[in-house]
């Protein structure tokens, strides 16, 4: 046993030919966020604080699809959502439809701690944000040139993208491929466990490029994009609709609980056997301090570290050692 942490910046069809000028800032960002998380764990902060802190950092980085840098709706606006879960108490919080809140994950935490509810959305959530005095900025703050361009391409192609993906295989009528190889960003998330087996998970996103206004994905849905209990903490990324119907995050925990699978077995099963190829990736840690980061897409921006000194920052399947 010992602490462990894993975080992601999105799974998708990240091309192996990703140019260095697009790859390096993201790797650097992952390294930076990992360090923040590791230091927090070493300082014995509760995992709930750790995941919030790391996801806040990821939200602030414009290269990832959360907070600043969120992808745009069909109307060119930003609608952000997030959720957080404390595995020890099973308390959770979620928000959707945020347009001015700088750190959605922190508002989700406030919903959990300061209201009798779990989930607040749209105007009601924005109102709550003001009552709580959290940092808000005009929604133009979150919009980047990159995302304006992404939206333009998606509209021209008349498609809804998972902001980056050429689906490897797609059998639903709803999602169609974008052939522009733009696969550089995604949802963000973090899971952590301390030396006492306390677990927490948090996920945050701007959603899908060109999504309908009001569309909610898996990220704020407890059990789909985020889950934590006494056994494990999971944060998922990928095609929201597939993650919802597969209740992905909960499924990892359920396999551990009901079939006695290990963290790695459970996560591998969910990602490679129970969800269509090209739709999902996740990071997960167990109460015992194990880590796993499976994905069935071309790549997933990810990083992890464990107390025994292991650490990893990777994009594609073959891990790169520090």
């Amino acid at each position: 046993m010992g602490w462990a942490i894993a975080l992601h910046g999105g799974a998708g069809d990240i091309p192996l030919s990703l140019p260095p000028e697009r790859r390096q800032p993201r790797e650097e960002a992952l390294r930076h966020c990992l360090q923040i998380g590791v230091e927090a764990l070493k300082a014995k902060l509760p995992p709930l604080d750790v995941v919030e802190r790391v996801v806040r950092e990821l939200e602030n980085i414009p290269q990832f699809n959360a907070g600043k840098g969120s992808v745009l709706t069909s109307k060119g606006t930003v609608e952000m959502e997030a959720s957080i879960m404390d595995g020890t108490t099973m308390n959770c919080g979620a928000v959707s439809g945020l347009t001015t809140v700088v750190n959605a994950v922190s508002l989700a935490r406030l919903v959990m701690e300061k209201t009798p509810h779990i989930y607040l959305a749209f105007d009601g959530a924005e109102e709550f944000a003001r009552q709580q005095g959290v940092e808000t900025l005009d929604s133009t703050h979150f919009i980047t040139a990159e995302n304006i361009e992404r939206l333009k391409q998606a509209i021209e192609a008349n498609r809804v993208q998972i902001d980056y993906t050429q689906p490897i295989q797609n059998d639903t009528k709803k999602e169609t491929a974008i052939g522009n190889g733009d696969s550089q960003i995604g949802t963000v998330g973090c899971v952590a466990v301390d030396g006492n087996g306390n677990l927490a998970s948090a996920t945050s996103t701007g959603g899908l490029v060109n999504k309908m206004v009001g569309r909610i994905g898996d990220t704020p849905v407890i059990g789909a994009g985020t889950y934590a209990d006494a056994r494990c903490a999971v944060s998922a990324t990928g095609k929201g609709e597939a993650i919802i119907r597969g209740t992905v995050a909960r499924d990892v925990a359920a396999l551990m609980e009901f079939k006695g699978l290990s963290l790695e077995e459970a996560a591998t099963c969910v990602v490679h056997e129970r969800t269509p190829k090209g739709t999902v990736g996740l990071v997960a840690v167990s109460a015992k301090g194990e880590v796993t980061m499976p994905f069935n897409t071309t790549g997933m921006f990810r990083a992890c570290a464990t107390e025994d000194g292991y650490s990893e920052i990777s994009i594609w399947p073959a891990p790169k050692f520090e």
Partner: protein, 326 residues
């Protein structure tokens, strides 16, 4: 070819002092809805069509907390939500924050069938409703005098308490007197009874479906989303079962209740009733909730850990039961 089965509910957690007339009305409504569903099943309607049909009926009737008759937000308005899931391919649709859509469950179905997404909410959902041409009415249509009265009581009850987060360790009310009233969501059940509605069906082809609809928690913050539109929490259907839950929304969400029934059937090999019992017993901690479920083999089951649940169920072999209390 298998046999069909259907179950409906009008909420778990019932005021023990509910007037007999109201109890009678509830049973009549549940019976009527069951018969509506049975009729459709006999005409070979698919499970997903039947659950939508039945929940529409429940939404239209002002008795329970959905559609017309929905609980009110703290602002005295109505914000409705619903979800539907078709077990055969695990397709799903959900909506939240509806203020003018006469039948939320039908909009949820349209999200599933006619949009590239699974869940639409608030302004975006309302806009989609207009694009789809569904029936819309003024928000006032959904508000009943009874609920206006309830909201007032809720605000009064609320002023007694400063923070009623439901802790997993149980809730201590701040001493309203020697006898503590039955509570849901930490407050008197006479005001906070959920009365969410739902329907689960397995058709002759063995396809399962589930649908849930609600106005949510009385006196909720505007923008609050509960378990009903969350796939895996309030609603779930897959190849082996269809489930619809009701009760304390926050407890159902953290327990991913609807999904759990399917998970224990699949991963522990439990049959339907045992799965339902297991979930109600093990996944709720201090939370109060109930659920109805059907299996792909034509069984029907329900369970609840509170004092009562408005429910009805029927199977093709002629079994039919409508009930409220334990």
């Amino acid at each position: 070819m298998g046999a069909w089965a259907i179950a409906v509910h009008g909420g778990a957690g019932v005021d023990p002092n509910l007037p007999p007339l109201r109890q009678e009305q509830a049973k009549q409504l549940l019976t009527r809805c069951l018969n509506l569903g049975i009729s459709a099943l006999r005409s070979n309607a698919s499970a997903v069509d039947v659950v939508e049909l039945v929940v529409r009926e429940l939404e239209t009737d002002p008795l329970f907390n959905s559609g017309r008759g929905s609980a009110l937000t703290e602002k005295g308005t109505v914000e409705m939500e619903a979800s539907i899931m078709d077990g055969s391919k695990r397709r799903c649709g959900a909506v939240s924050g509806l203020t003018t859509v006469k039948n939320p469950i039908s909009l949820a179905r349209l999200v599933m069938d006619k949009s590239p997404h699974s869940y639409l909410a608030f302004n975006g959902a309302e806009e989609f409703a207009r694009q789809q041409g569904v029936e819309v009415v003024e928000n006032e249509y959904f508000i009943t005098p009874e609920n206006v009265g309830m909201l007032k009581l809720a605000k009064e009850a609320n002023t007694i308490l400063f923070d009623y987060r439901i802790p997993t360790g149980g809730y201590d009310s701040c001493g309203v007197g020697a006898e503590s009233p039955l509570q849901m969501n930490g407050l008197p059940i006479s005001v906070y009874a959920p009365e969410t509605v739902g329907c689960v069906v397995v058709d002759k082809e063995g396809r399962c479906a589930a649908a849930t609809s609600t106005g949510g928690l009385m006196n909720k913050m505007s923008g609050r989303i509960g378990d009903s539109p969350l796939i895996g929490a309030g609603t779930y259907a897959c190849g082996v079962c269809g489930v619809s839950c009701t009760g304390e929304g926050e407890a159902i969400i953290r327990g991913t209740l609807a999904r759990e029934v399917a998970a224990v059937m699949e991963y522990k090999g439990l049959p339907l009733q045992q799965a339902v019992d297991f979930v109600i017993k093990q996944r709720l901690d201090e939370g109060k909730a109930g659920l109805i479920a059907v299996s792909n083999t034509g069984e029907v089951a329900y369970g609840f850990n509170c004092n009562a649940m408005f429910r009805g169920c029927a199977t093709e072999d002629g079994f039919m039961e409508v009930g409220i209390w334990d």
